[in-house]
Amino acid sequence: MVEVRLFANLRKGREKVYFMEPDTITTVQDIMDRLNIPREEVNILLINGFHQKPETKVNDEDIVSLFPAVGGG
């Protein structure tokens, strides 16, 4: 399974975590499409803790984390 974690206001109207069958998705973009998350709303996209692009392929047991504009210090 692919674990998808959403954060901050991407959670509005959605769950915090989704589990998806790996054979139903190819890239992170597919995940965003399925969850109706516009590309411009995602500022940080991580797979297993490393920055990736929407075009990056997703594999079984990956953890995909999506964040909107966040920061501070």
């Binding site: 920055h51 504009a69 210090g73």
Partner: protein, 606 residues
């Protein structure tokens, strides 16, 4: 009046009780901008580098910048510049709220406080009138109650800056509070105020306008309109920080495996969601708060029991949370409130407790030493109790804890347990997982600190571009650029958070409009470079050694144990020489050629 200044500094000698009005040298102001830069230049020239930080010879400079209180985003900021009793080097602590703007509105560019009062004193400023009043009756008061009391006495429109009990007792972790819950937090500036028996500074301007100091108020309004477009178009400065505050970083930094856990023994916290910005907003947030003239509104106003108070930033959430093995957000909120009430640095205080917890784990501190508050990981009652003890120390261990982790761990024969640089505790980003921030920590002139070159923006958050956090390539260049730009922002009187949306061209536009100058962005960055270099030369005069530019051994030799950054260590041995090269420094200090290039000839003999 010129260069966005009143050209007026008040020198307040507490030993003699005299106030002298001095004319600001605008040529010097032009070279060092204001705020952090000009404040450093003042104490460098006045020989503070070689004095005992807690002696009457040390000076406290409270200083505004050319944009403080002016028509520019997030311009309510001032700096406290002094020699730090924690690090023995330069201290320049920045704070928001409205106190700095009111000082400027009252007609002052800066206050230079020197000497030591014969009895506890506070300073009351109404426009150009400055008086010293007895403060004995206010000793032992919490900052919020003191704020109310002094406003009751001097007017609701006054603004109050003060130290708490920690400052009175000269805790090396004491901060300076203003406007109840804003803090000039780091490097023990509150202890310097305490050593002078100065409890508070109240300022009440009767004229809220500083426009008369500007080269062109119209030009600044136009420049402000331009840069506000960037602020509004940026997701973080337009709404992200307003919604979740800086605490939104808990989940981000944990997701990349850079959230230090149990005094940096690991770097991934399983319970991060419990202490996240999302959970803070859901369970405790009353509303967002904002400093003077700030469109970003990152501050949190939260409920702690029945009280409505200023809430924790990302740093204390991490420090009282993951770093102390604690996932109870309510405990974090209470401890953060106690830090504000006692006037303690909300980063160094919990980080020192975390170090003490590791000393306890290793058996160096025993249960019988803890007087009923065992230093166990995640023990909420002990956390609360130790903040109180550090805020109002009585026993030898209380005082040791209140002196920071470096002195504490040294005392117990385990100096390597202190996760500090130049004796100041590092903040919430693991330098093993993010290579650039390690260079920032190691070379920060005020010791372990993230806001002297916040490379987390490019290395994690993707602003202005996304860098690979795990590599060393070009990090030295990025650190230098961020350090120099930050020195500019801190000297202008603006908030660093504007830099998520603004870059050197925008700050240049604002500076030129306010001051009537015609700098290019490259020249403005060079002003920042000059400031960074004079700070370094202050440190050199204060006795800093090349080996002080270091990271704790753990970050170089103990790989991260779990999470996404498992196996990583800091590559400072690669990045530090590269950094010195881009800075034009030799073995941690500027070469003569660099000092000449930056117009710092006065530092060459140092």
């Amino acid at each position: 009046m010129a260069y966005a200044y009143h050209e007026k500094i008040a020198r307040i000698n507490l030993t003699t009780g005299t106030v002298t009005v001095e004319k600001l040298d605008t040529d010097v102001a032009k070279k060092f901008i204001g705020g952090r830069g000009l404040g450093t230049k003042i104490i460098y020239d006045e020989g503070c580098a070689t004095v005992d930080p807690l002696s009457p010879e040390n000076k406290l400079v409270y200083i505004t910048g050319p944009l403080t209180g002016a028509t520019a985003p997030s311009s309510g900021r001032y700096m406290v510049v002094t020699k730090s009793p924690l690090t023995g080097m330069i201290a320049s602590s920045n704070s928001g709220g409205i106190w700095g703007a009111k000082l400027k509105y009252a007609g002052w560019d800066a206050l230079i406080v020197e000497g030591e009062a014969p009895e506890w004193t506070y300073i009351n400023i109404v426009d150009d009138k400055i008086e010293l009043l007895n403060a004995e009756e206010y000793l032992g008061m919490f900052s919020e109650a003191l704020d109310d009391t002094l406003k009751e006495k001097h007017g609701k429109d006054a603004s109050v800056l003060s130290i708490g009990m920690a400052g009175e007792k000269q805790s090396l972790l004491a901060c300076i509070m203003n406007d109840k819950d804003r803090a000039a937090g780091r490097s023990g500036v509150g202890a310097v105020m305490g050593s002078k028996k100065l409890k508070a500074i109240v300022v009440r301007p009767t004229n809220r306008n500083a426009d008369e100091t500007l080269a062109s108020a119209e030009a600044l309004k136009e420049a402000n309109k331009d840069v506000m477009v960037n602020i509004k178009e940026n997701g973080l400065t337009s709404s992200g920080l307003r919604e979740l505050g800086t605490a939104c970083l808990v989940n981000v930094i944990n997701s990349v495996g850079a959230l230090p856990v149990r005094n940096w023994q690991d770097s991934h916290f399983e319970q991060a969601e419990d202490i996240s910005g999302e959970t803070l907003a859901e369970k405790y947030l009353v509303r967002a708060g904002a400093c003077h003239r700030c469109p970003i509104a990152c501050a949190r106003v939260i409920k702690v029991g029945e009280k409505v108070v200023g809430g924790p930033e990302y740093e204390p959430i991490w420090a009282y949370g993951a770093n102390c093995g604690n996932n109870d957000l309510e405990v974090i909120n209470e401890c953060n409130m106690l830090c504000n009430e006692y006037g303690l640095d909300a980063i160094s205080t919990p980080c020192t407790i975390a170090a003490a917890m590791e000393l306890y784990q290793r058996g160096a501190i025993k249960e019988e030493d803890c007087a009923g508050a065992p230093l166990e990981w995640g023990n909420g009652d002990s956390l609360r109790e130790w903040v109180k003890r550090m805020g109002n120390p009585e026993t030898e261990l209380d005082y040791l804890m209140s002196s920071g982790s470096a002195r504490l761990c040294e005392h117990f024969g385990m100096p390597e347990v202190s996760m500090s640089v130049k004796k100041q505790e590092m903040p919430a980003y693991d330098a093993r997982a993010i290579q650039g921030i390690g260079v920032t920590y190691a070379t920060s002139n005020r010791g372990g600190c993230h806001v002297r070159g916040y490379t987390i923006a490019p290395e994690v958050v993707g602003l202005p571009v996304q860098l690979d956090r795990t590599v060393t390539n070009e990090k030295a260049f990025w650190v230098k650029t961020f350090q120099d730009l930050t020195a500019v922002i801190d000297s202008l009187g603006m908030c660093l958070f504007t830099s998520f949306a603004l870059g050197a061209p925008e700050y240049t536009k604002l500076l030129n409009a306010a001051c009537g100058t015609d700098y290019t962005p490259e020249q403005v960055l060079e002003l920042g470079e000059r400031i960074y270099n004079i700070e370094r030369m202050f440190n050199k005069a204060a006795g800093m050694k090349p080996e002080d530019d270091r990271l704790p051994k753990r970050l170089l030799t103990e790989p991260v144990v779990s999470g996404p950054s498992k196996g990583m260590t800091s590559k400072l041995e690669v990045t530090l020489p590269e950094y010195y090269e881009v800075r034009g420094w030799d073995n941690a200090f500027p070469t003569e050629e660099t000092l000449k290039r930056l117009g710092l000839d006065e530092c060459i003999a140092n």
